[in-house]
Amino acid sequence: DAMVIQNPRYQVTQFGKPVTLSCSQTLNHNVMYWYQQKSSQAPKLLFHYYDKDFNNEADTPDNFQSRRPNTSFCFLDIRSPGLGDAAMYLCATSREGPKGEKLFFGSGTQLSVL
């Protein structure tokens, strides 16, 4: 059974049209992450939540926002997608986090921007 679920699997949006990607987990993990992965590159950390505390990476564009309304759900909002935002977006969880514990990944959402 899937433990980290991302929806949708594929998302097509228009240039400048806001889009929301969702992630849910059944693991009751404390930490949730959003990574962006472009073709032939490593996943790039956008931000992560340690419980309710939001941690933004310094180089994450303001265009990217996130919400975590409860332990199970986390959303990635792209306010005005540009062509350069086309990528795979990966959600991951870990039980506690500070020691570099095991990450559990969803299947990812492949975002296309037209």
């Binding site: 490593a42 996943p43 340690y50 941690n55 570099g100 990944f105 990812g108 492949q110």
Partner: protein, 111 residues
């Protein structure tokens, strides 16, 4: 920047043992070392995790020297389906669980 350094690519042949080494000179005392495998268009998949010495599971072994400044993932008798990108991750020394991927190692297994 990630705290890990790996070779960018490696080639092997079916049936051979493959060893991929990762450097993490600044690993924190309490941090785990974790390896992931990623196929195209899929999320990374956990392979193995260790803290010190040697860990073995059904798919791989992980060797960690006493100083913990490096680790080696060993894949026994690789097959074509082991062609993938392999990442090692260690904690970033934060209290919040921040985890950053390095460039990874692209393993190409040839027939």
């Amino acid at each position: 920047l990630a705290k890990t350094t790996q070779p960018i690519s490696m080639d092997s042949y079916e049936g051979q043992e493959v060893n991929i080494t990762c450097s993490h000179n600044n690993i924190a005392t309490n941090d785990y070392i974790t390896w992931y495998q990623q196929f195209p268009s899929q999320g990374p998949r956990f392979i193995i995790q260790g803290y010190k010495t040697k860990v073995t599971n059904e798919v791989a072994s992980l060797f960690i020297p006493a100083d913990r400044k490096s680790s080696t993932l060993s894949l026994p008798r690789v097959s074509l389906s082991d062609t993938a990108v392999y990442y090692c991750l260690v904690g970033e020394g934060s209290n919040t669980g921040k985890l950053i991927f390095g460039q990874g190692t692209t393993l190409q297994v040839k027939p």
